[in-house]
């Protein structure tokens, strides 16, 4: 399933204007009360995030979908145990990560924090550490609708090339809008590691955008 660029950007802001946790909390209450439709709405709200996250732990889309379904069954069985101490989304994604890990597909993968490549190629700085080949201007251009569309494709492709841990952190933070603290909770990593992974992931993406606009 591919990523698409949300056609109407303002919609995103509107959607975020009401605290997401309120909406989740309300739906959870309705699911508890036995409302089937509320469950489907709750699934729809989180499906994309869940698939994306599961996909970085397992080897195929089909397995990722199984993990997501399995997670929802676990959520339903444990829904009375959701105490609201963390946000519903954090609780949900914690369950997902546990399930994804227990499928064992990539259980042996390294917990290292990924490559240690610099944010910007060293060759772009002189011996004193000052820019020799400074960043080209592209920020204003990126707001152009047509270009934004191709940049979205570039981000999508680059995201898939990131080491899994970087991809997970960037996705949770910048696509799903979790806080740094929530990401630490979901992935069971330290705040320092969260920042390193976020930094490397975002730096890769910025470079990819610079390359895309410059070409």
């Amino acid at each position: 399933m591919g990523l698409i660029l949300a056609i109407s950007a303002p919609y995103l802001y509107l959607r975020r204007s009401r605290p997401a946790e309120d909406e989740d909390g309300e739906l959870v209450a309705r699911v508890r009360a036995g409302e089937e439709q509320a469950f489907v709405l709750l699934v729809a709200r989180h499906h994309a995030s869940m698939l994306r996250l599961a996909g970085s732990f397992v080897s195929s889309d089909a397995v990722a979908e199984e993990v997501v379904q399995d997670t929802w069954m676990g959520v339903l069985r444990g829904i009375d145990g959701f105490a609201g101490r963390s946000s519903f989304k954090t609780w949900l994604l914690r369950i997902l990560v546990n399930r994804a890990r227990s499928t064992g597909v990539r259980e042996h993968r390294s917990v290292a924090i990924g490559d240690a490549a610099p944010a910007v190629d060293r060759a772009r700085f002189d011996a004193s550490g000052a820019w020799m080949s400074p960043p080209q201007h592209w920020v204003e251009d990126s707001e152009d609708r047509l270009l934004a569309e191709s940049l979205a494709g570039r981000i999508d492709a680059t995201m898939k090339e990131l080491p899994p841990r970087q991809r997970e952190v960037v996705t949770l933070r910048d696509v799903d809008g979790l806080s740094g603290k929530e990401v630490c909770e979901v992935l069971e990593i330290s705040e320092a590691n969260q920042r390193v992974l976020l930094h490397r992931g975002r730096s890769h993406l910025r470079q990819a955008l610079e390359d895309a606009v410059g070409s």
């Binding site: 698409i4 379904q69 069985r77 960037v170 920042r195």
Partner: protein, 85 residues
């Protein structure tokens, strides 16, 4: 530590940028970071690019649930309800 007060150079700025955006820099380091930015158009541009990158990444979204998926999840819900009966 020796050199603690030395101004930051561009190559350091690009590595500190996430900590800066995350509000994780100690105050003295943040001051040196901002002092560098005030004087360096390239690093200011770089910071704007990181912000734009975050913005553009945030616009990625996936398609809604397909009707088939809705059916699957409805079926899953019903299986759960039956468990309880």
């Amino acid at each position: 530590m020796l050199g603690q007060k030395k101004p930051l150079v561009c190559q350091q700025i690009v590595e500190l940028i996430t900590d800066y955006l995350e509000g994780a820099l100690p105050r003295s380091q943040r001051r040196r970071f901002e002092a560098h930015l005030a004087d360096c158009e390239h690093c200011t541009e770089y910071l704007e690019q990181m912000r734009a990158t975050i913005r553009l990444t945030g616009r990625l979204a996936r398609e809604d649930l397909t009707p088939e998926m809705r059916e699957e999840f409805t079926a899953l819900y019903r299986r759960w309800r039956e468990e309880g009966d």
